[in-house]
């Protein structure tokens, strides 16, 4: 089977993106001080990326697992909530 990249994998899923509210917000001042930035690697949906030395977060593919929240070692860097009711990933199989 052909290897799939994350974009292709996430494209298989159904999402209802919340255009009004972010369920995850980053405190960029704290993130700047973090050298390891494990969120970039640990997130199974790859929603964290580094652009010009700054962490970017793209909620669109978030699978709401909470890995980033658990592995972030800088308290206050990630403000994490579940998306508002009905929004976010909608598993059709699970």
């Amino acid at each position: 089977m052909k290897k799939l990249n994350l974009q292709e994998l996430l494209a298989k899923n159904k999402f209802l993106v919340d255009d009004e509210e972010n369920h995850i917000t980053l405190n960029k001042e704290i993130c700047t001080q973090c050298e390891a930035k494990p969120c970039i690697f640990a997130c199974p949906a790859g929603v964290y990326s580094l652009k010009d030395g700054e962490i970017k977060f793209d909620k669109a593919g978030c699978l709401e697992c909470g890995t980033c929240r658990v592995i972030c070692s800088h308290p206050g860097a990630i403000d994490w909530q579940y998306p508002r009711g009905t929004f976010g990933v909608i598993y059709r199989y699970g």
């Binding site: 899923n13 494990p38 690697f41 009711g85 598993y91």
Partner: protein
């Protein structure tokens, strides 16, 4: 809704929450079951298999109406080292006798069914609502807040999953530590039912379950899994989050790598990936247990850390269902005595002990620390596969004796024998 007061508010319509709601509603209590997904199950995923006992004791004959995939007749455990592997298969037709020992399941349909059972029994199911906080008054939980709505109840059950924000907000648990959870990822791969049965050597719609240890997790604490559904395969990996925190390895790529291995690729060939999902898995058992009860609140299912992973066997859903049932029994008693104090809620532990959840968790208290041994994921799978490969390989008329082959496998694996003895002892005790 704001003026109503319920006897119980249950947060999360997964197996724990819906079971509790079902049992309470059956006894005529006012129950509100709140789910943040647009339908129950739409936020839930797991590896793929539920053991039947717990549910059968609550809904006897459930298999006749529940949406199930395949009853599991075949168990496969594999050690992987690169493209080499050694597997053990156990097949037992006894497992097919109703209620059948275990079933593969898809959560979107199954969880929706179970929540619907609760609704039919009289519970109010409110979907698409995110609970933001618990309401606390004089140290006791008196309800929940969802947006601007405050909803009151005698008791709240936090059944909001592994990443339970509610238990943290209620002060029952500190933030999870990376070593306490695994990140699980899964791809659902569609294939015709016949093809699946042929590839796994299964009769008709019987199922197989496989666990993998070794290079599939790149030597990190974790492993792979495969489950046969009716016309799809659940294939995935679980890796401890502390490992993902320190090893710059992307689990999504690891899963693609796993798919391409010769042990897996032929099983899923020509299949179509239809979903990619991820979830946290509680891994520390009793060592991560939150306060299971407080004034006006109980914690059930994954939120309570009720998962057992033995490496060759993984349980979660049955413990969730049984803990939901224990929570319901606690509340029924509390309701009868009109006493929702901390002391009354502490009866939850008794009910957990009675239905086996507590003992199961207690018996495997030391397993998580045993599984946190890197040799299990690298050196040992390598040793076992090298040895087996050597045993089955003829070598140019040398006809070396088994003992010689063993010694060579030992040397090439660089296993420290005192460590092996120690691990064997720890493993014996932990499993």
């Amino acid at each position: 809704m704001a003026e109503d007061k319920f006897t119980a508010i249950i947060v999360g319509a997964g197996p724990a929450g819906s079971t509790a709601a079902y049992m309470l509603a059956q006894e005529g209590l006012d129950v509100l079951l709140i789910e943040r997904g647009e339908t129950p199950g739409s936020k839930n995923m797991f590896g793929g298999r539920m053991y039947s006992n717990a549910l059968n004791s609550i809904i006897p004959g459930f298999w006749e109406e529940a949406p199930l995939q395949r009853p599991v007749v075949k168990e496969i455990v594999s050690f992987m080292s690169g493209s080499r592997s050694v597997s053990m298969t156990c097949q037992d037709p006894e497992w097919l006798k109703p209620p059948c020992h275990s079933y593969t399941i898809l959560r979107a349909e199954f969880d929706a069914w179970l929540a619907n059972k609760a609704e039919e029994a009289g519970a109010i199911l409110a979907c698409g609502i995110r609970v933001d906080d618990v309401l606390i008054e004089n140290g006791r939980v008196i309800g929940v807040r969802a947006g601007e709505d405050e909803i009151h109840a005698d008791v709240v059950i936090a059944a909001d999953g592994a990443n339970s924000l509610l238990t943290e907000k209620a002060g029952l648990r500190k933030a999870l530590l990376p070593g306490q959870v695994g990140t699980g990822v899964k791809q659902l791969i569609e294939l015709p039912a016949d093809t699946i049965s042929q590839r796994f050597q299964l009769e008709e719609n019987q199922g197989a379950a496989g666990l993998f240890v070794g290079t599939c997790s790149a030597g990190m604490q974790g492993g792979g899994f495969i489950y046969t559904n009716l016309n799809s395969i659940s294939l995935g990996l679980v890796v401890n989050a502390a490992e993902l925190q320190r090893n710059q390895i992307k689990i999504s790529e690891l899963l693609e790598e796993f798919k391409s291995q010769p042990q897996i690729a032929p099983l899923i060939a020509e299949g179509e990936v239809v979903e990619y999902s991820a979830h946290l898995v509680p891994e520390a058992g009793m060592n991560m247990r939150p306060e299971l009860f407080g004034e006006g609140i109980l914690v059930a299912g994954d939120a309570a850390g009720f998962v057992i992973n033995l490496g060759y066997l993984v349980r979660g859903m049955d413990l969730a269902i049984a803990s939901g049932a224990a929570a319901a029994k606690t509340i029924l008693e509390a309701h009868k005595n009109n006493d929702f104090t901390r002391q009354s809620m502490s009866r939850y532990l008794e009910f957990l002990k009675k239905n086996g959840v507590w003992n199961s968790m207690e018996n495997y208290r030391h397993t998580p620390e045993f599984l946190d041994t890197r040799r299990l994921y690298e050196a040992y799978p390598q040793f076992v596969t090298n040895l087996a490969s050597d045993v089955f390989t003829i070598d140019d008329g040398k006809s070396e004796h088994l003992i010689g082959k063993m010694m060579r496998a030992i040397k090439s694996s660089r296993i420290n024998w005192s460590k092996l003895a120690g691990d064997a002892f720890k493993g014996g005790r932990a499993l």
